[in-house]
């Protein structure tokens, strides 16, 4: 019982920081419809229902995690030719819209 409630508070804590991040950073220019539309490009490869074999799942990523990862591909700090190409043409508005949409997915 006790470990369950600890787990729950950890989960809540994560959830709230995620939400807070989204709110505090105000995600400049974010548009949830645009985010949903752009997400169509992600799910050609990132299976939203499967195990994430070969290509990681991105649903469930925290806003901050998502933005950090995308920026790391954009600056080519993180290796992967496909992701570097995807990130290359995402501007702030696109990244923030995707982040906003992802934060609303369960």
């Amino acid at each position: 019982m006790k470990s369950k409630s600890i787990l729950l508070s950890i989960f809540l804590c994560f959830f709230l920081t995620n939400k807070l991040y989204a709110e505090q950073n105000q995600l400049v220019g974010a548009d949830v419809d645009y985010g949903e539309h752009l997400f169509g490009e992600c799910v050609t490869c990132h299976n939203s229902t499967g195990l994430g074999q070969g290509i990681p799942k991105i649903t469930g990523l925290k806003t901050s995690q998502f933005i950090t990862k995308i920026l790391a591909y954009k600056t080519k700090e993180k290796e992967n030719a496909v992701m570097q190409m995807v990130a290359e043409r995402l501007g702030e508005e696109e990244i923030n819209s995707l982040a906003l949409y992802l934060s609303k997915l369960k």
Binding site: D33, Y34, E36, H37, L38, G40, E41, V43, T44, C45, H46, N47, S48, T49, G50, G52, Q53, G54, I55, A81, V82, Q84, M85, V86, E88, R89
Partner: protein, 421 residues
């Protein structure tokens, strides 16, 4: 998401022709989209229009087959990296999750003026917007001596279905130390690296069970997609087994004799023990019938994928002239999302975003040796233009090649789930 809408029941019963007239009676007020072809382009378009319009558009998908076997990864089936069943998919997800009306019939013709699609059953369905994504037809006559009859002796296996099983049996049954002849198609064709991935997978089979066999590629072209990468891989994994002969070198295939399995060229006459001949291609016949083609393929408006010849028709995937995008499943899926967004905008007034196109094609050269090529594209007034791209490098680290192969498995699971669930 699994909430059953009423339309879903219509969709699931739509294999019978009597159900066909129901949607227009019951939902006459909704704008109607008909999609012909439930492959990479059509299944994606049907899903996204239905999903994103949340019931505001009535979507009917006309697809001849109840099960779609992907051409993508059919080469991996040839190489024993996939089971045949794993590349087959059904349409229940589209019907149940998104309320797409499924009609498993051939679309025979399009009446552009009346905005109707005529089906094999004699019924017709009317549309406000029509999406055509029929894939390719084969121009058997483009290779002298090749024909619809010859396809059982020298399978093209370039459309999904039983041809690829036939080809695999012939590869496995080829006599020890025999010669396999591969004839790739001339440009433009579906899946530019496909013939060379096929050769790799057949070589992989031979290496295991027929190591003295030879593969001769009689190419109608003088260069091919990912050439340096494939050539390097063939040298590394299958030394001495594969000979690629360019058009310049063999001077053109003069004739093929399916009875004697002979390939006559200026250079020599090659005798095969098993073979695959992939002829030139053109847009699926229904596109011609709808009058949206110019010659073999269909010119489109780059920003929307609308046919240049008819603004109420959108042409996706292999059938379209999507310069500079290659004809691939990935491209068709990407184009479908652009068209879906545009169709929804014009029928319901929803936002239409700047079109974004992308493609990546993975190929498998040998166990854990994957390579890839990809690009981003944007719509200009004239064409879909490449803005940036990448390609795997020769001499890459084996861990990277393994990761690339694993990534391709992830992509397959991603795109098929995107199309069908």
């Amino acid at each position: 998401m699994t909430k059953m809408k009423r339309r879903t029941f219509v969709g699931m019963a739509a294999a019978t022709t009597t159900a066909l007239s129901m949607p227009s009676i019951a939902f006459g007020a909704l704008p109607r989209v008909v999609v012909i072809g439930g492959g990479a382009g059509g299944a994606t378009a049907a899903k996204y229009i239905a999903k994103d319009s949340k019931g505001a558009i009535d979507v009917t998908l006309v697809e001849a087959s109840k099960r779609y076997y992907t051409c993508f990864f059919s080469n991996l089936y040839l190489g024993d990296f996939r089971a045949y069943g794993s590349i087959g998919h059904n349409y229940y997800g589209l019907a149940v999750n998104h309320g797409v009306n499924m009609v498993h019939e051939w679309a025979l013709s399009v009446n552009n003026a009346a905005k109707k699609v005529n089906l094999g059953s004699g019924e017709s369905i009317s549309y406000d917007k029509l999406v055509i994504s029929p894939g390719i037809d084969l121009k058997f006559e483009s290779v002298n001596g090749y024909s619809a009859e010859a396809q059982s002796k020298m399978p093209h296996a370039w459309k999904s279905g039983t041809q690829v099983q036939l080809l695999k049996n012939q590869v496995k049954g080829m006599k020890k130390g025999g010669t396999f002849v591969m004839v790739p198609p001339p440009n433009p064709y579906r899946c530019p690296p496909g013939p060379y991935e096929r050769v790799s997978m057949i070589a992989h089979q031979f290496k295991k069970s027929n190591p003295t066999a030879k593969i001769v590629i009689l190419d109608p072209k003088n260069k091919f997609s990912k050439q340096g990468l494939f050539m390097e891989g063939w040298q590394k994994h299958y030394p001495g087994m594969i000979e690629w002969i360019s058009a310049e070198t063999h001077g053109g295939i003069k004739n093929i004799n399916a009875a004697t399995m002979e390939f006559e060229t200026d250079l020599d006459t090659f005798k095969a023990d098993a073979a695959s001949v992939v002829p030139a291609q053109r847009a699926g016949r229904i596109a011609m019938n709808a009058g949206v083609n110019n010659g073999d393929w269909c010119p489109i408006v780059p920003a929307s994928m609308q046919a240049q010849a008819d603004e109420n028709i959108y042409v996706l995937g292999d059938a379209s002239i999507a310069k500079s995008m290659p004809k691939s499943g990935f491209s068709a899926n990407s184009q479908a999302k652009v068209a879906a967004n545009h169709i929804r905008g014009s029928l319901t007034g929803s936002k239409v975003f700047t079109p974004r196109f992308a493609n990546t094609c993975w190929s498998l050269v040998a166990t854990n040796d994957g390579i890839k090529v990809g690009a981003n594209y944007k719509a200009t007034d004239e064409k879909i233009d490449k803005t940036s791209g990448f390609i795997s490098k020769t001499g890459e680290d084996s861990n990277l090649r393994k990761a690339t192969y694993e990534e391709s498995i992830g992509w397959y699971s991603g795109i098929t789930s995107d199309m069908f669930s």
